[in-house]
Amino acid sequence: MERRPPTTDGSAGLLARADLTAQRSPRDTSTREGLLVIAIAGLAFSLLAVIFQMGRLEWGGLIGLGTALLFSALLPFVAVARRRNERAHPRGYGRRLAVAGAWAVLVAGVGGFLWRSDLVEIAAPAWLTTLVALAAVVPMAGLGLSLVRAAR
């Protein structure tokens, strides 16, 4: 008996509803986890903003070292707290987090090359380096914000 093809194209039925459901944010995300992701982004922003300006600051080396030490000391605590507060993650969250992390590393690398290596001579006004530091962490902060908003 010839029958209609199965609904694997997602046009109707249970499969389509499952696919549709997977596009929504789950109810059980954690506000605290979202805030901690934002905190990680904030820490990274502070570190990058200071490091990009180190060369122009009086006592820049010391300030940079202090910021790096503070970052290294705080990050494990915040990261562990985030993991402890993990609840439901929306579909694609892991991939988006990986992309946000890779983006931050890439922008930090470009910023480091421009303003910390001696390979290029380029002006480093504070507004520009701060903007680049902010650009590095915006995707991660956005991810944290999406968890907070979904939890509410």
Binding site: R3, L14, A18, A22, R83, R84, A88, P90, Y93
Partner: protein
């Protein structure tokens, strides 16, 4: 797909009510913690653990355990194979509910 083929496509590992609900819950997210899933399904720790182990052994589920002090904090996520099995199962159910039409 015929009704017979759809029937044969049903996955026994997925088809149990608790496992089906568990996979449906996890299919809608990237991952979820044990407590959230337990509350959503309204099952006991023992029952949920039993089904989690079965799905993990089938390669459908990935389990990550951390400890908050002495309390385990378990994160559950479907594997790629698990998502695929769930989709195949749903497609078969979709076909079956069409009956003889």
């Amino acid at each position: 797909m015929t009704l017979a083929l759809a029937r044969r496509s049903l996955d026994d590992t997925v088809h149990s009510p608790v496992r089906f609900c568990l996979m449906a819950a996890l299919n809608s997210v990237d991952s979820a913690d044990y407590q959230t899933v337990k509350e959503a399904l309204d099952v006991s720790y023992t029952l949920l653990s039993k089904h989690v182990i079965l799905l993990e052994q089938a390669g459908y589920l990935r389990v990550r355990k951390d400890f908050v002090g002495r309390t385990p904090h378990t994160i559950l996520a479907l594997t790629r194979q698990g998502r695929s099995a769930f989709r195949t199962h749903l497609a078969a159910l979709d076909e079956i509910v069409k009956g003889l039409t």
